[in-house]
Symmetry: C2
Subunit: 220 residues, 2 copies
DNA sequence: GGTTAGCAGATTGGATCCAATATTCAAATG
DNA sequence: CATTTGAATATTGGATCCAATCTGCTAACC
């Protein structure tokens, strides 16, 4: 079977992925207004699909909306960040508690593969791929809990800080730390050790919140 | 100062509140497709604001969307329900832990007032107002935690089961139980007793999940 | 007879045009 | 000189029209 060619079935979807890309790469920086006309022209579509895509992003909290004034890229305060990570702590612990006893060998293998993919991308210095595979690594585990709404909520929380995630991977010191944490996590999963897995995830997250906080407070 | 006259600044907003009303009253029942043209005609607007409102509702999980096939009112399985209540348990406990020590007398008074409003609406037999004031009662407390993202996530979870909430209030036995629980909660808040408040909330929620589960499984 | 091709009808997706609102800036007024 | 009023411009919100896609049915074919 050849690689399926996926044309987005709708323009809104194409617009959505493109705006997301602009957000994570920082081309649309927090605080800047989003001109519908500009986005539409750039992507060669009309303003209608742009507006629908922006409504989705509004729901996810990536942009804030005011009637007749339009959309602005959301800014994340340190308080917001602290809150996001606290909620992640509560919900990721739950996901791990439920998922670990249910894990099969194949899933653990997939998680290990994602870890190696993060490493490979890191050696190539490809930050975008690193963050993508890192996300795979964690959500393969979370999704294994079989709680779709929990997964969805966690994705929203991860999305909220995605803008700043690349910052974390930029430091090579952080990169080796990530590798180490991921390896520990896979060991804990193989041993079906819930407590250890939660502890690793917490350390992992704490290191990240520290780096991102530094990044946010830096450019004020 | 006279009562401010609030005209919805945009049609999408008006459409949004109207569709929400149709959802909670059950006029748009779970599983039924949402015809854009029908909604638009009913509200005297074009399909454009309807589509944008539906995108918001999609983000909130009230409708599910498939490209070129349109929107369908979301159905809630028992598994979904169990998950929603489990997540509420985790997050409401956090909200109460943070909020209770921060509560001032005025907020506690407002919560008490909301409780009396629920009771009054109950005596009138007005289910819609009961659910509204009940929501006020709980979110006055949750919001007091000063964690906007937590409040938002909790609102999403409450929204997801809103369709079935009226069922719970319909039974007069449940109504007196709610009054009793609310009174106990106010006592716990006055005493600044976090453990008691969390325990009351849990009992309150468990009773609700039982009633709603019964309602869901009934009509299958 | 069961399966598939193809043709209406219905419904959604997108583009264009017009209306409503907000913003900016200059001029008039105290 | 500060304030405010008003017009011009930019931007968003909504309506209408056309295109693309899906659905259900009929008929041809194996």
């Amino acid at each position: 079977m050849t690689e399926a060619f996926v044309r987005p079935p709708t323009a809104q979807e194409a617009v959505l992925t493109e705006i997301r890309r602009l957000l994570v790469t920082g081309e649309l920086a927090p605080g800047t207004p989003v001109r519908q006309e500009a986005v539409a022209e750039r992507l060669g579509v009309s303003r209608v699909p742009v507006r629908e895509a922006l409504k989705v992003l509004e729901g996810e909290g990536h942009v804030v909306y005011a009637a007749h004034r339009g959309y602005v890229v959301a800014e994340l305060s340190v308080d917001d960040l602290t809150e996001v990570y606290r909620l992640r702590e509560l919900l990721e612990a739950e996901a791990i508690r439920v998922a670990v006893p249910r894990l099969d060998a194949a899933t653990i293998e997939s998680i290990g593969a994602a870890s190696r993919a993060v490493e490979a991308a890191g050696r190539r210095g490809d930050l975008a791929e690193m963050t993508a595979y890192n996300r795979d690594f964690h959500f393969l585990l979370f999704d294994a809990a079989g709680m779709p709404r929990l997964s969805r909520t966690l994705r929203q929380l991860w999305d909220a800080t995605d803008v700043y995630r690349a910052v974390y991977f930029a430091g090579s010191g952080n990169r080796t730390r990530v590798q180490h944490d991921h390896a520990e996590m896979v060991d804990a999963l193989r041993a079906r050790d819930v407590r250890a897995a939660i502890a690793v995830q917490k350390r992992h997250r704490d290191a990240s919140v520290e780096a991102v906080t530094a990044a946010i407070t830096a450019d004020d």
